[in-house]
Point group: C2
Chain length 361, copies 2
DNA sequence: TCAGATATGCAGAAGACTGACGTAACCCTG
DNA sequence: CAGGGTTACGTCAGTCTTCTGCATATCTGA
């Protein structure tokens, strides 16, 4: 129980008003009063306070219609911005959204897979700075920074295990990225953040318990319980088991071999038996790892993401076939709808959560 | 966002006061004011309202000491009672607690493992009624009823799958048991409720994410995420996988064979190699199922409960030995501290949760 | 220009909390 | 047994937040 405060009611009403304000376009006081169940008078004073905090502004009344024109208000989504970063093996990506989650800038750069940590960080900082500059965001409007990375992340934002990236283990990624901009920094596992993004605005919008499979150059997994990532004791609940025990580390290389993934899937689309067989073997590997997660969590939905998810049914169909005998009642399985920006989007969601707390929204 | 109300502050302060009231023995107004951060005046009016609702009463002031004797108040834990039931294959058990969770009555009866559902229900109702009568609880003080049962329970309190109990599948256990007393009824899976009980007042008091293994005449499992049972899409998150796929259904019979479990563990304690080997084989089976749960959830703690957990290290040691190679960093594993009343205790916790809501506590 | 419709703005009242001040009850000391 | 010290009680005024009702302002259409 937190400290009791007389202004608690005001806090609650501010939240309710903001909710209603953000839902519609440019509501009037009367509309807001109806939506929140508050009196018009209360809504008015709340809006005055929100305007003072820079979170709401009055817009010109609409024309036409009988009666006195109503004052209209709009949520200032530009009051703060969130910077989301995605550190991959082959590229880094930065993405900026406003408070509504609307993407206002994005920037990416290639990085060698064997680049040392310092080089990767330099590239990351460069895309982040470029993204801010090109979007024209002043530093004071940046609320928080968050990054997604392969590997295990502890609760303080430190990367404890990251075999995929040279020199990455032990890095205080939250501190470093936040420090660049003098803002709070946060870090999450890439699969977990992609899952968060899918829940926020992707394929898992209506599911609370979700198993997410990241199928790309690297194979990973994440879990959402009640819409929130489940991290576990060491911060890698879903990952820790699947990674080494079931051979997930080798599976992507085994699929592609000498060719690229695009070539394999293109060949399979043409009916090439060798490619089809390779994909089936890959799907079998994935299914074996996923079944442990699915049987334990009994999720509402399984989302397949990562670069390979572009293949769609080419990969989903064999995956479903291999999962069915392993699960008693197989859950729905669907492909990601967010593309390769899922991790960065999930990172901005992580940053936005902190910004909301910070603004007492 | 619920309806906005000026009296929201009062609600919050009632909760805060109750919390402080329940923590200590018989606090004074001044002590409560200090504990809650409220003014003495506010605490006084809150207590008057609580007394009116039957949730607090004034007790005689303590003697001695300088100054005017302070009025002292006490939480009325006897305002409502919770009835918890445990339906087992060989026996039924009823347990009554007051609002503080103090057990004020318990009753049990043996039931044949192959008894039809009607007979089992009659026995269950008999122990429940006897428990209430012997504890002297009037019906109006009974707040809610909850029951634990083997098998899968859906969100409405209906048993959907229960292979262990004849005729049990499809039973609306929540409706039936609640109907006996004209009170709301709730039902949970036995392993899940035992896990809840361990988190409430047993071995898992300080752990949020817990894997619970029910090792008795039947082998089952439950999961706690953040201290709350994780049910999953169909209501049997942890169970569904372990039950059939890994041969957990046969494991108990395989261990005991012709003898009883007590005989096996007694022989093992004497160093009997056949008994030790049987236990080791059993532990191996358990570890294989548990590892999937542990690797997925990455729990802070694994609790071994059920009848066989009495064996203690005799079973824990081989279990740890088999789990270690399966987990990268094995979590702590400990035995239940609640004995065979864990399921019924978890059921009363489930009932108490509802009673608290009902009383707006 | 007037009537109807819609929104605003002000005043009064109610619920809840706080802080201050005077009063009551008890113990200890002389 | 009387007085002082100590602790707690109880009342009162003041503040914050909200809601309701009524008068006022502004626009459209006839």
């Amino acid at each position: 129980m937190q400290k009791t405060d007389v202004t608690l009611v005001r806090q609650v009403n501010i939240r309710a008003t903001l909710r209603a304000l953000r839902a519609g376009g440019a509501p009037t006081l009367t509309e807001l009063a109806r939506a929140t169940g508050l009196s018009r008078q209360t809504v008015e004073t709340v809006l005055a306070e929100l305007a003072g905090r820079g979170l709401a502004r009055e817009v010109p009344p609409s024309e036409g219609g009988p009666g006195r024109p109503a004052r209209r208000f709009r949520f200032r989504a530009d009051a703060r911005y969130a910077l989301g970063l995605d550190v991959g093996a082959h590229r880094v990506l930065a993405l900026i959204t406003d408070l509504d989650g609307t993407v206002v800038g994005t920037e990416r750069a290639a990085v060698a897979a064997d680049a040392p940590a310092a080089e990767r960080l330099t590239a990351l900082r460069a895309v982040a700075e470029a993204c801010l500059t090109r979007a024209g965001i002043v530093r004071t409007r940046l609320g928080a920074v968050a990054a997604g990375t392969p590997g295990v992340v502890d609760r303080s934002g430190r990367v404890t295990v990251a075999g995929a990236l040279p020199g990455w283990s032990g890095l205080d990624l939250a501190g470093v990225t936040g420090g660049w901009f003098g803002r709070p920094g946060f870090v999450g596992n890439d699969a977990n953040l992609a899952a968060v993004a899918e829940h926020w605005r992707g394929a898992a919008r209506h599911a609370g318990d979700v198993v997410y499979i990241l199928a790309g150059h690297r194979l990973g997994s994440g879990i959402l319980i009640g819409g929130r990532p489940h991290l576990g004791r060491t911060g890698a609940a879903a990952e820790i088991g699947t990674l080494r025990l079931l051979g997930w580390e080798d599976a992507p290389a085994e699929l592609t071999g000498e060719a690229t993934a695009d070539q394999i899937f293109a060949a399979a689309a043409q009916g090439d038996p060798t490619a089809l067989k390779a994909i089936d073997r890959y799907a079998h590997r994935v299914a074996q790892g996923a079944s442990a997660l699915i049987l334990t969590i009994d999720p509402e939905l399984v989302v397949l993401g990562g670069g390979f998810s572009h293949a769609g049914d080419l990969l989903l169909t064999p995956l479903r076939a291999h999962l069915t005998p392993l699960c008693l009642t197989p859950p729905e399985i669907t492909a990601s709808t967010l593309g390769d920006e899922a991790v960065a989007l999930g990172a901005t969601r992580l940053a936005l959560d902190h910004i909301h707390q910070d603004l007492h929204i």
